[in-house]
């Protein structure tokens, strides 16, 4: 890593056309595609009241009806409109995904930055804790904890968020250890910046761009975790998520394919979109600082 590598002697204009071309070759279409998919699901969830007049919780007499003009996605065993349940379910799934990802990314970033920046004993302790969390069978623990403390949106968000930060912490720590040795950090120290200012003003912005990728994958993974919990019957029946729809629909797999197919598609589309977006971001974001390297 610290080999006496050649010095970067090329002015930016020599390298820029090449990196731009390289990024173009790396299929930006995937990233754009991902962003579109994510946008569609977010808009669907946000604009649910405008896209359907039906109430996702209102029972109807027309049970297990096939998709029709009145009910584009059909109805379930209690006569509820599946389109409405999928659209409103998006609010729950995406919301849980975003909030628990925010918790895990925030926690992971803080722990990773502190560990990577200060090093030494603090780093050792934090990393052992991180590893302890990382080797936990995440979903199993989530199932146990949620069954103990009870289901509910807040509980789900907290449990998923608090169980998924280790990956982010490790990525951030590694990144900070690299940035720590860039000359601009030494220069900032000599410009009088103390540890807090170094971390907040000089290191964090250079980590953030890296985190975008990780964050979009975290959202996807949190949505999946929530679906898993709901599928096991640990979801909040008051706020049906896609996972809960799947769980309820699986009883009627033989008679009513639409009960599982539409929430399943929504889930797959969102997770695929977030993954593609993550790929696109990792390909296009320019390296914050050139390392030799």
């Amino acid at each position: 890593m610290t080999l006496a590598s050649p010095l970067p002697t090329r002015p930016a204009w020599v390298t820029r056309p090449l990196t731009v071309l390289a990024a173009v070759r790396r299929q930006p279409a995937a990233g754009v595609m991902g962003a579109l998919l994510v946008l569609v699901t977010i808009l669907g969830a946000l604009l649910a009241p405008f896209l359907t007049a039906a109430d996702p919780l209102a029972l109807g007499s027309d049970t297990l009806a096939e998709p029709s003009w009145a009910h584009p996605f059909g109805t379930d065993d209690l006569g509820r409109d599946v389109l409405a349940r999928v659209l409103y379910g998006g609010r729950v799934s995406l919301g849980i995904g975003l909030f628990s990802a925010a918790i895990s990314v925030g926690l992971g970033m803080t722990i990773g930055m502190v560990a990577g920046f200060f090093g030494g004993l603090l780093d050792e302790v934090l990393m052992r804790i991180t590893e302890a969390f990382q080797i936990l069978p995440k979903l199993l623990v989530a199932v146990v904890v949620v069954s103990l403390i009870g289901s509910g949106l807040l509980n789900e968000i907290l449990v998923i968020g608090l169980l998924s930060w280790p990956a982010t912490a490790r990525i951030v720590r590694g990144r900070v250890q690299v940035i720590r040795h860039e000359e601009f950090i030494a220069a900032a120290e000599m410009s009088g910046a103390g540890p807090v200012r170094l971390l907040a003003r000089h290191i964090a912005p250079n980590v953030l761009s890296f985190l975008l990728v990780s964050a979009s994958l975290q959202v996807a993974s949190a949505i999946m975790s929530e679906s898993f919990l709901s599928f096991l019957g640990l979801g909040d029946p008051e706020h049906p998520s896609w996972g809960l729809l799947l769980q309820q629909g699986q009883l009627f797999l033989q008679q009513a394919w639409w009960l599982t197919t539409f929430p399943g598609l929504a889930l797959a589309m969102t997770v695929l979109g977030l993954n593609l977006l993550g790929d696109g971001l990792s390909g296009s974001h320019a390296a914050p600082a050139r390392s030799r390297r």
């Binding site: 010095l7 002015p11 000359e183 601009f184 220069a187 900032a188 000599m190 410009s191 009088g192 910046a193």
Partner: protein, 327 residues
Amino acid sequence: MTAAEAPLVSVTAIRRHFVSGGGLLARRKVTRAVDDVSFGIAAGETLGLVGESGSGKSTLGRVIVGLLAATSGQVAIAGQAVGGARGGARRALWRRVQMVFQDPYSSLNPRLTVRDTLAEPLRNFGIARGADADRRIREALDACGLPASAMTRHPREFSGGQRQRIGIARALIVRPDFIVADEPVSALDVSIQAQIINLLQDLKAAFGLTYLFIAHDLAVVRHVSDRVAVMYRGKLVETASAEMLYARPAHPYTQLLLRSVPMPDPRAEAERRKRTAASEIAHPQATAGGCPFHARCPKARFPLCGEQAPPLAAHASGHRVACHFPG
């Protein structure tokens, strides 16, 4: 530098060791990056510090500015101790001492505009804010040959040479007395190197600066330095005025270094090659102790050179040489 006048910078018996390994399986290994180095720099002087990669010259530079702690020894700048300075004392130190870094790409934070980068020391040291800070930033940029319009731009919009000017402006903006320049031109193109060297010399004259100029390029060091110190494996092996060192090197390592530099004039280069027999000497008697250079030294005599490290001692006409058989 005369004995009567105290040097601006005095470096006394500095050692800096790095410890690696020491885990369950790896053996603890101590690298003596800087090993008992002492010298002084008079106010207004440029001291050139040369050495090959791994000689410890960059480590020494970072110890002198207080970015790295010394394992032992003292550095004092204008009577103020550098080592152990914390918090407020470190800030006071860095208003007097600044550094110009080697790599114009990694030495500027890519996320900050030039104004942000230059405003950092003004803000952190409580020198100036707002319009006053902007005025000082414009002055520093102007002194370094950059237009005021550079302020709102990011480092990626500049070439290597312009970035290095920004780095110099950052060092200059606190009006330091002493600047350590660590390989400030080695990452730049030849035609840009000359611009930066000229700029550093102009700034020295304009602001009465004192420089420690660290470089591996012997021609550049000769060009900028009043006095030159040669480092080999963590130790100073020779110091002398630039003129004397290049005209009459006394240490066999300095002699080898100077012989090895090719010259741009083909005739001078042909002459040099005739004088030089580029052969590595391998002494079967070489040992772990003694003079750090003895294993490669054409003059080494055994057992003396393999057992005793020669001290840096006064030699003819202002040279100080660490060699049992100088000249």
